[in-house]
């Protein structure tokens, strides 16, 4: 029962300004408030000590490329999680978007550059369907997006006939380089900026925190909760569509089984970045760090020749550790 009333909310303390903190306390506060960043620095340090190849330009760019798809999915997921929702369909939607984009060009005879629009558009539509089911059909987000996970994966198989589809050069370009910098990293940077901007500056973004914090209060204050909720999943779908194209660009083809299970990495990245599944909390910068933590660990373990099997175990432990630290921090 003490969990309901943390000591810092003690009545007598409520109106008092926080007591001046000593220098050491301030450092502790900074570390605790930026746990994900500290974690990323630690992971990087460990990897650097373990294998010198880690800190080469080439490898760091690799990490960025590896982080890109997860991060883009996770940015979309951040909007959803801030509203206290969840989107399990992003991996499937990413694959479906890429397949539709490829199919439109190869079988539909569209010009190649149009694939760059078709992919995100398909993602947006899939997200909109989930969002409408959640906001207007009152389905739990978990169920609606679980259904979409299956539907989108199935549709991807139907459209592709279960075979990979070649990507037009416009899409393969997404997997290449622009000067010295790989294009996936550029896409990652742009989507990160968009996410931060939307969350911090737009009415839509600010509403998400209110809805996630207390949906009824948001509604009674006149915020359009339903419309916004539907839009959040559409946005997540849009980001999944972009992520699908980046992934297909790197592989130069759209695979019907691509990005399977990526939704879990995306959720993990958001949560490691400090967002709360109960809503109202979450930042673009945190999510970016979360995605980088995952990518650095995968990359480092690869460099150290740790098998993919053990990698899974380590990633799982990292997620538990990150969230565990966060829970302890809240209890302070």
């Amino acid at each position: 029962m003490s969990a309901n009333t943390p000591p810092k909310a003690a009545p007598a303390a409520a109106n008092a300004a926080p007591a001046p903190r000593s220098g050491r306390a301030r450092v502790t506060d900074f570390l605790a408030d930026n746990g994900a960043l500290v974690g990323l620095a630690l992971v990087c340090l460990v990897m650097f000590i373990a294998t010198p190849t880690f800190l080469t330009t080439q490898n760091l760019l690799n990490v960025g490329v590896q982080a890109a798809v997860t991060a883009i999915l996770a940015f979309g997921m951040t909007f959803v999680i801030v509203t206290a929702g969840i989107d399990l369909s992003v991996g499937s939607v990413a694959a479906l978007s890429a397949i539709c984009a490829g199919w439109a060009v190869t079988s539909g005879g569209m010009p190649g550059w149009l694939a760059l629009l078709v992919g995100p558009l398909v993602g947006l539509l899939a997200g909109l369907v989930s969002g409408a089911a959640i906001a207007y059909g009152k389905l739990p987000a978990f169920i609606a997006t679980l259904a979409m996970l299956s539907v989108a994966r199935g549709l991807g198989l139907v459209v592709s006939g279960g075979r990979p589809i070649d990507m037009p050069s416009a899409v393969s370009w997404l997997g290449g380089d622009l000067g010295p910098i790989p294009v996936p990293i550029l896409v990652l940077a742009v989507t990160a900026l968009i996410t931060a901007f939307v969350l911090n500056r737009t009415v839509f973004g600010r509403s998400l925190y209110a809805i996630g914090g207390n949906e009824e209060a948001a509604r009674l204050a006149g915020l359009p909760v339903k419309r916004t909720t539907a839009a959040v999943y559409a946005l997540s779908g849009l980001f999944a569509g972009i992520a699908g194209l980046v992934l297909a660009g790197r592989l130069a083809s759209a695979q019907p089984q691509a990005a399977s299970g990526y939704e879990l990495d995306a959720i993990a990245a958001v949560v490691i970045g400090g967002a709360s599944l109960s809503g109202g909390v979450g930042k673009a910068s945190g999510t970016l760090i979360g995605a980088l933590v995952l990518a650095v660990i995968r990359n480092g373990l690869n460099l150290l020749n740790v098998t993919a099997f053990w990698q899974q175990v380590v990633i799982g432990l990292v997620i538990a550790l990150a969230v565990g630290i966060d829970v302890l921090r809240q209890r302070r």
Binding site: M1, A12, A19, T202, A210, A217
Partner: protein, 500 residues
């Protein structure tokens, strides 16, 4: 009254360097109802948490039966015979009454649950609190009052001799409160010591044997039960509050809110009234009479079946909060924590939700403007805060309520629908909220004030409408609205339906 069973001597406690309780003494005797009185933040909850084993005092002693004890956790409190009945009940709603009563010490036979024994224990326990209930019923299907009795039965069945009742009447109707008080009196006869917390001064007069008053974390005085309300308020607040209900009537202007034949099946029927600028119209009635439902329907929060709502002469679309907000209607809901505020968000965010969209440009938040306006409103409301970015979770009840009001001040709403605006707010802050109501009407706003506290609704309203069973049963001008007159209207329909 019997011996002193529980005693605190010079108990102090600080959190993060901020003292919550300083040098407090308390003596509770067997067979007495000892009231703890104080405003929010006075240290009542810290004190009872010490007794319940949630916090340990930094200094000072706790004595049970004259022997000094340490109560490091709730389990040791339990073994000393101390039980706490919290405002939020600690029952599992899906489990049966019997299962709840034996939770944690389920009777066993051959390692399996002994259901017969479980029922026997449960029946005995509920009989002790005079509760007539099927012990196989899930607790969640009982009303809140009976759940509370189950909780008390649970405490007694664990041989509790010292019962801490933390605002037990907050969610009860008057009749339910009477039932509870009957049990409390019986327990008093049986020699149980009770520490009782309530914000209702009339209840304290009715049930309290002795009253210990706390203010700002410090012990003020212990006075006998018969002490008058004015004296209690003076002890709590530390100054005389000359006027508990400082209503200043404003000149009534044009009609701002017109509600016509509003009906919603099963909730309310044919509600018609209007409110003019500068007017406070009270909405009285028993719990469940439909006051909240009417206010929510007007504010667009819920659907209604027929009728119309007009604000400033223009019709309002039904079930559209945004349209109501745009038209200048603001709802201060019954439960600010569950529907008024986003507790984890900052003061500036909470103040700004209603103006977020109207003040935006091309979808972008007017961050600077929102902060400027928010700070102005917070200053005008004398909102006590560390910063505008502070979470509203940490504010006191009165200050939280000011944030909900402030949102509508910022939106320049002209019609305010107040649903129990002073619930869970201490006396000093209550008066401040009444002053806010005066401010609204003197600025040409219209107020509908729904409240179950009769003195409040009678003294703060210019006219009182009375509801019973979803219907308006009468209207009284301020001069004629006495508690008796209001009550006889409030039970009118109820009696006639009973006769039928």
């Amino acid at each position: 009254m019997g011996d002193v069973v529980l005693e605190l001597v010079g108990a102090s406690k600080s959190f993060a360097g901020v003292p919550a309780l300083r040098d407090v003494d308390l003596q509770v005797r067997a067979g007495e109802v000892h009231v703890l009185l104080g405003e929010n933040g006075a240290g009542k909850s810290t004190l009872i948490k010490m007794i319940a084993g949630v916090h340990e005092p930094d200094s000072g002693r706790i004595l049970v039966d004259g022997k000094e004890v340490r109560i490091p956790d709730t389990r040791s409190a339990e073994s000393l015979g101390i039980a706490t009945i919290h405002q939020e009940l600690n029952l599992v709603p899906t489990l049966s009454v019997a299962e709840n009563l034996t939770l944690g010490r389920t009777p066993r036979k051959h390692g399996l649950v002994d259901r017969a024994e479980m029922r026997r224990i449960a029946r005995e326990a509920v009989a002790r609190v005079g509760l007539d209930v099927d012990v196989d019923r899930p607790v969640g299907t009982l009303g809140i009052a009976r759940q509370q009795l189950v909780e008390i039965a649970k405490a007694l069945s664990q041989n509790a001799r010292i019962l801490i009742l933390d605002e037990p009447t907050a969610a009860l109707t008057r009749t339910e409160t009477d039932v509870l008080f009957g049990i409390v009196r019986e327990l008093r006869e049986a020699g149980v010591a009770m520490v009782f917390i309530s914000h209702h001064l009339d209840e304290i007069e009715e049930i309290g044997d002795r009253i210990t008053v706390l203010r700002d974390g410090a012990y003020v005085d212990t006075v006998p039960g018969g002490t008058g309300e004015a004296e209690l308020v003076r002890l709590m607040v530390g100054r005389d509050i000359t006027d508990l209900y400082p209503r200043r009537a404003s000149e009534a202007g044009e009609t701002l809110l017109e509600v016509e034949h509003l009906s919603s099946a099963g909730l309310f029927d044919d509600i018609t009234f209007s409110v003019r600028a500068g007017e406070v119209v009270g909405l009285a009635g028993l719990v469940g009479a439909g006051r909240t439902e009417v206010l929510r329907a007007i504010a667009g929060a819920d659907r209604y079946d027929s009728g119309s709502v007009r604000v400033g002469g223009r019709g309002l679309r039904r079930h559209d909060v945004a349209a109501a907000v745009d038209a200048g209607v603001g709802l201060v809901p019954e439960d600010r924590k569950s529907s008024g505020l986003v507790l984890g968000a900052s003061i500036v965010d909470n103040l700004g939700y209603a103006t977020l969209r109207p003040t935006s440009r091309i979808g972008l938040e007017d961050r600077k403007g929102q902060r400027t306006r928010g700070t102005e409103v917070a200053d005008a409301l004398r909102l006590r805060r560390a910063s505008m970015d502070q979470q509203v979770r940490g504010l006191s009840g009165g200050n939280q309520q000011k944030v909900v009001f402030g949102r509508w001040f910022m939106a320049k709403s002209r019609v305010l629908l107040l649903d129990e605006p002073t619930r869970g707010v201490d006396v000093g802050a209550k008066v401040e909220i009444y002053e806010l109501i005066n401010t609204i009407t003197s600025n040409g706003g219209a107020v509908v004030l729904a409240s179950s506290e009769l003195p409040e609704v009678i003294s703060m309203s210019d006219r009182v409408l009375v509801m019973a069973r979803g219907r308006l049963t009468g209207e009284l001008p301020a001069a004629e609205a006495t508690q008796d007159a209001v009550m006889s209207l409030a039970v009118k329909e109820v009696e006639s339906t009973r006769v039928r």
